[in-house]
Every structure is written in C-alpha cells, then in structure tokens.
C-alpha cells in the first residue's frame, strides 16, 4: 500500500522552502555537508546503490550514467540539469523549482562533488519565468551563504522549443546553436557540452539526490518498488476531479492516483482512456489502470512512465481530435533536422484533419497506420517516435472510433467533446503559427 512519505516536496506543506533559513530548518544542506565529507566516488556509490532512476522519462539509473563519464580527458566535466519541461501534461519540475529550489541546488552541488565538476548548467524552459526567478533568488542566497564552494551554477533560459528538452538539442542550444539533436554516438558522457564529458539529469532526479544522501541508499530503497525506489511527483490533468501535483512512491497504481488521490473522473463521467506519461506515450484503456506507475510495470503494459504526467480522458472526448491535437503539437515542435519527423509530423496532421472532417476514405486509416510505422524508430531523436505513439496507440485501441469518422459523415462528438480540458491547441501560442498544413 502506498505510503504518503514525500521526498521531493517534503516540508513544503507548512514551510516556505524557497527561503534558505526555512530549508535549513528542515535539514537542508546537511546532506551536502555529509557528501562533501565523503570521497566523490563514495557519493556516487550511494546514488548507484539507491538505484535512483532518471525522472525525466527514460528511467536510466543516474549512478550508471555517471559511471559512463569519460575519465582523464583533460577537459572539464559538466553537470547539466534539464529543466526544459515542455511535454503537454507535465508540470512536476515546475513545482520542484517553485517550492523547493534549494533542494535542486543542493542536489546540483552534491552531484557536482560526486562527478568532479565545478560547472553546473540548469537549462530552464523559457516560459517558466517565475520558476527561473525563484531559483535565481535561491541561488543568490546559496551563494551568499558560501555554500557554492567554488562551483558555478548557470541558470540558462530556453527560448520556447520543446526539442531542447532532448538532451543533445539542449546542449546545442546551450552552446548557442540551433536547438537540434546531435547524432549519437558520441554520447554526452563522452562528448557532451563543448565536447567535454557531461552528466545530464532531470530536475526531479537531481532534487532527489539530497534525500538519497540524507536517508542513505538502504532506507531510500525501501520506498517505492525494488526496481525503482523512491517517489515521483505525479501530475494529474485532463478530466480529473482534482488535478494537480501529488508526490507518491513509485509503484502507486493508476487507479489509486486517479480515484483515491485525484478524486476520480470529473463531473462523474466515465473513464475512457489514460495517458500515463505525458502526451507522447501510448494510451492505456480503463481496464489497464491497475498497472503500477513504475518504469518496468508501465512498460510491460505497453506504454512509458515518461514524465509521470497522467492525463485523464473521459467518455466525451473524441480520440481523433485528441490524436490531432497531439500531432499538431509535435508538428509544431519538430526541429526539422531529420526527414521522417519533419515530413511525417505534417503528414499525420493532414491525415488526421481529413479524418476528423469526415472526408477520409477507409484506406486513409491504413495510410495513417503505415506512416506511423515508417516514422517509428527512424528519426534522429525520440521526437519522431513521440509524435507517433499517441496517434498509433489511439488508432489501435480506439479503431472503431476512427472508423466511425470515416464511414459516418464526420466526427460523432461534435459539440460535446471534452478535449479543451485535456490538451490545449497550438494556437494558444503568442506567436501565430504559420499555416503549413494547406487545404
């Protein structure tokens, strides 16, 4: 049964942890002192022993990632924190920065000590202005308190590109180039920022590091599931009664998260679908919601843990419209570097638009499926796959609904879809999106 032990958000219920003194009052920066008293390798051993898996989506163990850092290259080692949280449905890192910036900074300093780095870059999503300011104020306090001890932490604001959450595009952007992914290999631990060995982790991963040191690997591993200890901040959104961020141990089931924690589907509607890890992951149906939310279980169910952003979809939502919204987002955010993603995302939008308008032929569904197959696994980075997963999984699991659009005279959900509460249209962007779809 899920405990309510919190790690990332611990102490935020009754204190303003954006302030250094308050953070110190709950034991803040004690883990840093403890870490600095240890040999760097001992710090990394602790993190490895705790099986702290990356909270950014892929779930790669942080300790193992650090062990891949190239040694004795004659170049500096960099720590880069990915705070470019841009996935529709994901807003966990936002709260970490907003409410416990010191935990992130402490995590940076401990990790920097562990990997022998004196330069840390936090790449913050451009739209997260408030979070940037809170983090900057906290960093200033840390500096004044003399806690940096020679480590430089650079806060870098992005300029509004989802692709910069992809680690190599992030590095390109950080270096001042167009935010486009690099081919891998070489991988960042060997050739990363400015061609130097670079450790890249998500905000929530780094912010868990102080707790790993504080509790010790053994205690930390008691939380969550053995394959993935610890907690995650789950972002509940969509047609759910009580949307918001909830920190729970890994392994909490989707049913618990939606019904016990989120208050169930909003307005007493029926549950139609759950997207467990942000808009880019394959959809799950209501009979799959007893799946525990941890990397391996969710993958066994055919989806991904992703950014732990759980999007609840009720029975009024048109799955074609939902696929179109997602596809539009990925078309808008495709960087344009590689062919399948640049061309395929636009083609998906064109096909889905036609299907939604009731103008498609049955062969268009096969074409849609085939375009998805041809994009999958062939792009330079994962964005090409992210664009495919929603479309192909909705089509597979809700095929009848797609067929109804083709055989009937258009969308059966006209006028009553709940889509607006699920994914916002790309037209929300302040800058008008150029028309590229055509008639």
């Amino acid at each position: 049964m899920a405990s309510n032990q919190t790690l990332l958000t611990a102490g935020t219920e009754d204190r303003d942890l954006t302030r250094l003194e308050e953070y110190r009052a709950v034991g803040g920066y004690e883990a840093l002192a403890k870490a600095r008293a240890l040999e760097p390798q001992a710090v990394m051993d602790e993190i490895t022993a705790a099986t702290l898996r990356g909270r950014g989506g892929a779930g790669f163990p942080m300790g193992r990632k650090a062990s891949l850092l190239a040694k004795d290259t004659g170049r500096p080692v960099y720590l880069v924190v990915n705070a470019d949280e841009s996935e529709p449905g994901a807003f966990k890192d936002r709260d970490v920065m907003r409410f416990t910036p010191h935990r992130l900074i402490e995590g940076c300093l401990i990790t920097a000590h562990g990997i022998g780095s004196t330069s840390v870059f936090i790449y913050i999503r451009g739209e997260y202005l408030h979070e940037f300011e809170v983090t900057r104020a906290a960093l200033e306090e840390t500096r004044k308190a003399g806690l940096l001890a020679g480590v430089t932490i650079v806060l870098h604001r992005g300029a509004g590109a989802y692709i910069c959450g992809e680690e190599t595009a992030l590095l390109e952007s950080l270096e001042g180039s167009r935010g486009q992914p690099r081919p891998r290999p070489p991988f960042p631990p060997v050739t990363g920022l400015y061609d130097a060995p670079t450790q890249i982790n998500n905000v929530s991963t780094i912010a868990l590091v102080p707790k790993v040191l504080e509790l010790g690997a053994a205690e930390f591993a008691k939380i969550g599931v053995p394959s993935a200890p610890g907690t995650a901040v789950f972002s509940l959104s969509g047609n759910v009664a009580q949307p918001g961020n909830y920190e729970r141990p890994l392994g909490t089931t989707l049913r618990e998260l939606i019904y016990d924690i989120g208050g169930g589907v909003a307005n007493g509607r029926e549950l139609k679908a759950v997207i467990p890890g942000g808009s880019s992951v394959p959809v799950l149906t209501p009979d799959e919601i007893d799946t525990p939310m941890d990397y391996d279980s969710i993958q066994a169910a055919g989806s991904f843990f992703g950014s732990a952003a759980i999007i609840v979809v009720d029975d009024r939502c048109c799955m074609v419209q939902l696929a179109l919204r997602a596809a539009q987002f990925y078309m808008h955010e495709s960087c344009g570097k590689c062919t399948p993603c640049r061309v395929g995302t636009r083609w998906l939008v064109q096909l889905l638009t036609r299907i939604e308008a009731g103008e498609a032929a049955p062969t268009d569904l096969e074409l849609l499926e085939n375009v998805c197959d041809r994009m999958l696994g062939r792009s330079l980075c994962a964005l090409g796959d992210f664009a495919v997963y929603p479309v192909s999984s909705y089509l597979r699991k809700y095929r009848a609904e797609f067929e109804a659009h083709v055989t009937g005279a258009g969308c059966p959900f006209v006028g009553e879809s709940s889509i607006e509460g699920i994914i916002a249209p790309i037209a929300q962007h302040a800058h008008p999106v150029p028309e590229v779809v055509g008639g």
Partner: protein, 744 residues
C-alpha cells in the same frame, strides 16, 4: 599498421581500419549505402536525411550508417539483403518526395541528380501523398550567381555546413523549424563569398543552381572535359561542361592534394569571358583609318616585317597566364630567330623553395601555419585559404604577419620579419623550429618570389622535416614556368634595347599591366596578342587574337611546383598561338612544332628532365623535393613600399594597392561577377581615421600629386597605422604616398 576490424556487409566479409565509417566500410565491401546529407568533407556527420538507414545485427532499430563507425564482428545489412533496411530507405525517399515538386523536366539537375538516381533504385514507384505540397516563392536569387528553389530542397544542410564549416562565412543558414524549415542567407544578404559556387555542386537536388547554367544543357547533350583552372596559381583541377562547342559550366574535379574538390567562384564562373563582346577573333592592323581586320597572311607579313626591322631591339612582355609551350615558342621565335632577348617576365617563384615542397593538402595537417606578406591569402590563392582554415579547425595555430595581421608589419615589411623569425631570440621562430608540422606561406608581392621565406625555412631546418614546408603565392598562375621556358629557349644575356623598336605583348595580363603600357609609349611599334580588343585597341599597331586557357592544350605549373596538363575543352574561334608562331618561326628560320605536344617534347628535354606529357595524367604528381640552393640575396635597394612614412608629415599615408581575386580582364567581362569585385573603399587604421575625423562609411578623397579618387572609408581595428589600403582597380593613378581627407 593498426589492427584491422573485420565485419560483414550484406554477407560480404571486409576488413577495414578502426574508426572507418559504415558508408566507407560498405564501399570497401563493394556495397553502396546511399546518402544525401553525408559528405565527409563537410565535417562530422549530421544524420539528418536518414537515407543511409541500415540494419545492424543486435540493434533492434535501423541505424543511420553515416553516423556510425565499424566495430569488430559487426553484421550490417543494407536494402539488398534486409527487408527492414529496404523499407527504411524507401520510407525516407517517400518522405523526401512528399514535398518535392518532381519538376525534373524543367530542373537543371535532371539527369545528374542523386535524388532522381536513388529514387529509381530505392524509392517507391508512386506517391501516396494526396495533400497540397509545401510551396515557396522560387527561384530566389541568393546572389547573381546562384538561385535557390526551396521546394526542391530536401534540407540535407550540405550548403549550410559548407558555409559554416568549410568557407566559414556563415552566410547560408537554416531558419525556422519543423515543416517550415528553410535555407536562407544570413539576414537576407546576398551570398557573397569567393567560394559560393561550391554549394551548387554539393546540393544533391536542384535546389541550388547556377544562374549561368540555367536551362543551358542536359547530361545527355553535354560532355565534361578535364582540364586545369588558370585563374590563380593554385591550379585546381576542373572539368569543363561542353555543349555544341561552347563552355557551359565549370565543375571541380577533386585532386585530393590540391583542391579536394573545392573551387573558387573566379575559377567556376569566369568562363563567359570566352564569349566577351570585344573578343578578338581575326588579326587587326592599324592603318590610316585606325584598326582594321586583316587576313592571317597579311598579319603574319606585317609581323615578320616588324620583327625584321626591329632586329634585336625588341622587348617581349609575357603574361604569367601563358602556357609553358607558348612562352617557349615565343622565346624560340624572338630569341632564337632574332636574338631579341629582352623581356618583361612575370614574377617567378624562387627555385630555393623546391627544397621545402609539400602538397597543399599538408597545410591541413599542420600544427602551426605562419603567413607572411601584404596580401590576404584568399585574394592570391583562394583554395589555400580553405586549407589554412581547415588547419585552424583541426587545432593548428595560424599566425598572419601583414599590415592587418596578428603580427603587424608595415607594407613590404615581410622580408625583414622573415629575418627576425630566423633569429634565435624570436618566440614565434622558436615554435616554428620546434614544430614537426609547420608551414610557411608568403602571400604578397616582393620577398624575392618566396626567396625570403625559403631562407627562413632553411634556417629553421625545414628541409629535414617532411611535415614542414614553405609556399609562395605568386601573382600569376604560371609565372614560374613561363619565365623558365623563356629562359630555356636560348642562351644569351639580355640587354635592354634603347630605343625599343618593337614591343611584343603576349597575353591579357601583360596587356593590362600599367608598366607594359608605359613601355609601349616608348616603343616605335607594338604587337599585342590579346583576347580583348578594348585592352589594346588604343595602342597596338598589330593585334593578334589570343586563345583562352580553356581553349589551349599545354602545361602549366602551379604554386607547389606541380606541372599540370591543360586540355583544349573547346575549339578556339581563331588559330591558336602555337599554330601561327610555328608559321612565323618558319619565315625567320626557326623550326617549331605547331602544337603543344610537339613544343612540349622539345622543351621537356631542356626544362622538365624529359618528363613525358602522358605522365602528367588527369591528376598530376608532385615532384620530389630538391636540395636547397641558396637564392640570390635580397637586393639592398629600398623599395618604395619599405620607406618609412615621414613622421613629421602626419597627413601622408602609404598606399597599399592590392590585386583583388575578382579583378582582371576576364572577370571584368562577366557581369554576374560584378558583385564579387572589391568595394570602392579605402581601408584605414582606427588611429588614422580618428585623426582625420573619418568614420566607417564616410566618403573620403584619396589624393596624391595631382590625382584624386573618391572612395568610401572602412575603418579597420586590425590594420597598422600609416597605411591606406585600396584595391588596385580603384586606386587609379595614385602614387605611393597619399593623403586621405573627408569629402566636403
């Protein structure tokens, strides 16, 4: 030798060196991995087009072959043996063709287009795309030379990578993202780079095309004839595209030691001068009514008469752009036939440099490159500039010693600097001495044709270091061999005749030389061999039509000392020089072969140790280094340039005229190259500008005794004080010292 890595490609075993890319490894196995964006000359692979998808055993997803290197035991399958890879490649082509306009029937690339070729071999037979394609305005002129068709563009980023990573001008960029991505010029400025034309060849589709070649030919009605460019002393290997006896286009022809397949715009786009409006195709003789066309018989009669009258009182002015054979034939006729030994010869490279010979490609391997001389490398030998840039990208230290360089010298101060570098105390000299791979380059006038840099290389012990070498960038393409051929044509001392009874001017370079024109004023008669009537119409008594390099057979020697073979790509519109020189020679008792092969056979014996013409082949070899022979020491005469500025007279600046790459009679006859020619500006140091109250962009008057030129000022933070730098074509008749004032 490093251990080889064994792998199989489509079941064919192959062994390659560690670090080999999959594309090359497959090639070694005789298997093609098709590519669009991959081009190793453009730096690290980008993996953008996804054409090279292959299946690798043990990896579930298809992999981009261009971004991976071989590993022991790798099992690679391409479309030939893997359904998955075949589907991957077909998908990529389907995606690429989704927005491609398929306007092949009206596309210049049609028939020689990698996209067409790969679509035929790996692509889908028909389209499933039923939506409107992306459309753009087209074609957009990115410069007067290059048109951009964004609809055809497949976004392989070859052009932008060339601009950023090879020519380093940063002028071609990708803008926007996703489906809206497109290629543009930076800030919509024209693509003005000496190397812009390379992107036309790099483009794997018809997105970047040459405006000069637009609708001019199809692969099935053209021939590509290999020859060598004589636009500068680099001697890039090229092919001329010929249709119906006309040159339609110049393409690079990769010689890995000389040009690596790059070509500058002067070499690529100057060919329309062959059809210049004032091209001379029949002899012209001055009579009472001015110049009149005459028959060849009449012309040769006149020439013979003038020669016989003048006897030994002839001065011959030769261009450094002649073939070795023409220079030799002229020497045999004038020196052998008449005993007229006096000549104005093009600047020759010092033989002493033969001891420090390297292929140009060795510059890229250097750890230290020191460039000495008044002119930027790019203006004298543009491809050398690309080699130097590559060296820098690979981590070499590049030190420029010039009036605007890292080490500032006054104009003409390079020779003195060489002396300083040879001294034990010099820091830079020490690093040169210690380096295993160091290259010296003399880029500018003077310096004894590289003799000073050769002395320095000798002092530094470069002769014993195979990685160290020295180059001279002469002002003409073949000056060294022209001078050598002239001198090999007879054995006798020259003595300047006075008065000059006859001045023979051979070639446009000599005809355009103000010094030669001054001689003409003193000469009783002048015979000019030229392509362009406007060059000599005012002062020649007899004009004999000249041929262009692209119309000539023969040999030319580049700045490395490599003898290369010119091939006649199109028939000239008039008999070539060797034909009528043979006839003229016969009249005065000199037996000469009427063709290049015959003349070469005779001169090779005297000049090139009997090197057979055939041995030059399509890709000429580099001769071995020779033992060092000390050059003639620097003359003590103080050149005008080296005189110190009179300190007390603050108003005066030394005029530094430089010959811009895009200048000269041929370039001037191609309107599309006008935008590449030097700006009408004078470059001043910040201190000199400030003293005169001049800012960048101001209109200024540059004056010397009695003559004045209006130019735009450009203030340079790097230029040394006391110098006014002006391109030769804008310097008019200005003297060696000038004053610069703000225009009223």
């Amino acid at each position: 030798m490093a251990d080889l890595v064994s792998l199989t490609v489509d079941d064919r075993p192959v062994q390659v060196l560690p670090g080999t890319g999959l594309v090359e490894a497959a090639q070694a196995a005789g298997v093609e991995i098709p590519v669009f964006c991959y081009e190793p000359r453009l730096g690290p692979p980008v993996g953008a087009c996804r054409m090279c998808l292959v299946e690798i055993e043990g990896i579930p997803k298809l992999q981009a072959g261009c971004t991976l290197t071989v590993q022991e035991g790798m099992v690679i399958r391409t479309a030939a043996t893997s359904e998955k890879a075949a589907d991957g490649q077909e998908s990529t082509l389907e995606f690429i063709l989704v927005n491609h306009p398929l306007d092949c029937p009206v596309c210049d690339k049609g028939g020689e287009c990698p996209l067409q070729d790969l679509t035929f071999r790996y692509g889908p037979g028909k389209t499933r795309m039923t939506f409107p394609k992306l459309t753009f305005d087209k074609p957009i002129p990115v410069s007067p030379l290059i048109a951009l068709d964004r609809e055809r563009c497949i976004l392989c980023y070859r052009c932008t990578r060339f601009s950023e990573e090879v020519s380093e001008d940063g002028l071609l960029v990708a803008v926007n993202r996703g489906a809206r991505s497109l290629i543009a010029t930076f800030e919509d400025e024209p693509y003005r780079s000496p190397f812009s034309g390379n992107v036309v060849e790099l483009c794997p589709v018809g997105a970047l095309t040459s405006t000069l070649y637009r609708f001019e030919g199809r692969p099935w009605d053209i021939q590509n004839v290999p020859t060598v460019c004589t636009g500068c002393p680099v001697g890039c290997n090229v092919s001329a595209t010929i249709r119906e006896g006309k040159v339609k286009r110049i393409l690079s022809r990769n010689h890995s030691e000389i040009d690596r397949g790059w070509l500058c715009d002067k070499g690529r786009f100057t060919y329309p001068h062959l059809r210049a409006r004032d091209r001379v195709t029949t002899p012209l003789r001055r009579g009472r009514e001015g110049l009149r066309e005459v028959t060849w018989e009449e012309a040769l009669d006149t020439a013979e008469e003038l020669l016989r009258e003048a006897g030994t009182a002839v001065v011959t002015a030769l261009s450094g752009s002649e073939t070795t054979e023409i220079a030799y034939a002229l020497g045999r006729v004038l020196r052998g036939g008449l005993g007229a030994h006096s000549a104005v010869l093009p600047e020759a490279t010092s033989d002493a440099l033969d001891a420090f010979r390297l292929p140009l490609s060795a510059i890229a391997e250097a750890e230290l490159v020191v460039i000495v001389g008044d002119d930027p490398v790019v203006e004298r030998a543009p491809i050398v500039d690309l080699w130097v840039k590559e060296a820098a990208r690979r981590g070499a230290e590049v030190v420029t010693c010039s009036p605007g360089g890292d080490v500032q010298t006054s104009p003409g101060g390079g020779a003195a600097l060489c002396g300083e570098l040879a001294e034990r105390g010099s820091k830079l000299g020490k690093r040169l001495r210690a380096a295993e791979r160091a290259v010296l380059v003399w880029s500018g006038p003077g310096g004894g044709g590289g003799a000073r840099i050769a002395e320095l290389a000798h002092e530094l012990g470069f002769a014993e270091k195979p990685g160290c070498g020295a180059f001279h960038l002469p002002s003409t393409p073949n000056g060294h061999a022209v001078a050598a051929a002239w001198s090999a044509a007879a054995d006798a001392e020259e003595a300047g005749p006075a008065p000059i009874k006859l001045l023979v001017v051979s070639g446009d370079e000599a005809a355009a030389d103000p010094g030669v024109r001054a001689l003409a004023e003193d000469a009783e008669h002048v015979v000019v061999i030229t392509m362009f009537q406007e060059l000599a119409g005012g002062w020649a008594d007899l004009i004999l039509p000249a041929t262009a390099s692209l119309e000539r057979d023969g040999t030319t020697m580049n700045l490395e000392g490599r003898l290369q073979r010119l091939r006649r790509t199109v028939p000239p519109p008039c008999p070539d020089e060797l034909t009528w020189l043979s006839e003229l020679g016969a009249r005065i008792g000199v037996a000469l072969a009427p063709d290049a092969a015959g003349v070469y056979a005779e001169l090779a014996e005297r000049l090139f140790r009997d090197l057979p013409l055939e041995d030059l082949g399509l890709q000429a070899p580099l001769p071995a280094r020779k033992a060092y022979e000390a050059p003639a020491p620097a003359t003590t005469e103080v050149s005008a340039a080296a005189t110190a500025t009179p300190e007390h007279f603050v108003g005066e600046l030394k005029l530094q005229r430089y010959a811009a790459l895009f200048s000269g009679p041929a370039v001037e006859r191609v309107p599309e190259l006008r935008f590449q020619r030097p700006e009408r500006e004078v470059e001043l140091s910040a201190a000199d500008a400030e003293r005169r109250g001049i800012a960048s962009g101001d209109t200024v008057l540059v004056r010397s005794n009695g003559t004045s030129v209006e130019l735009r000022a450009r203030v340079s933070r790097k230029l040394i004080e006391g110098v006014a730098r002006v391109a030769g074509e804008h310097a008019g008749d200005l003297h060696a010292t000038v004053e610069v004032v703000k225009a009223p």
